[in-house]
Amino acid sequence: MRIGVITFPGSLDDVDAARAVRLAGGEPVALWHADHDLKDVDAVVLPGGFSYGDYLRAGAIAARSPLMQDVVTAAHGGMPVLGICNGFQVLCEAGLLPGALTRNSHLHFRNRDQLLRVERADTAWTSDYADGQEILIPVKNGEGRYVAADAGLDRLEGEGRVVFRYVGGNPNGSSRDIAGVTSENGRVVGLMPHPEHAVEDLTGPSTDGLGFFTSVLKAVVAA
């Protein structure tokens, strides 16, 4: 199972994401933002970091890169796509996920281990969790406040597209404690916290993040 990990100029967590894919039993495939080549991958991860130094808006310039045009086309065809932190910002800027991520309400960069509640265990990236399960994974961002117009938020909640909510304190002022959302078909997921940093006891607060990368292997087989 080939899982692509895109590197943009300024990506930081691409190596950790590839490692998480490997620990879950997948084959990580390095993808470069400037190529028009998805290398026949079955799914794609957009990693965390500061693509283009967060210039203009976080994720805005990366969202217009050559490879992202191919990712958008493939996502519309049902390919699973996961955006983590800066990757989530890129997916919102690319129009694959609704809403936007803006400066944290308290203006501080926040870096801590964070409890999340899984609200949807039937997406391509969350099937190995249970509805309502709480998981502990790191969060680290300065522009992670999820916002959208109230009507848009109501529609998202009505359609069950909130996948994760912050539990035990909201680290960035996100509307309605939203930590992650999904596309209408449940194949594209974005979240601010970092599951790829919680895949081994030695380096993470838990191994709760591994389920993202094992879930998608099943989603690809089922497709």
Binding site: L56, A100, R103, N104
Partner: protein, 79 residues
Amino acid sequence: MSRVVVDVVLKPEISDPQGQAVLGALGRLGHDSVRSVRQGKHFVLEVDGTPDEAELKQIAETLLANPVIEDVELHLPKD
């Protein structure tokens, strides 16, 4: 060559913590008459020939601003 200016600000319903921090600083400096501050971005584009309004509108609305959270104002040169 013409000069085109694009101003981008957060929509009124999106809270602006940076603007609020500036407002707080103004209060501490004794500028009590300032009621509100909204921080935004100001782009100056130099364009060959006569600016194409439709193209510049597209640039402003699809790259310079994110219409989910921001309003945009395009200022074309006056004849």
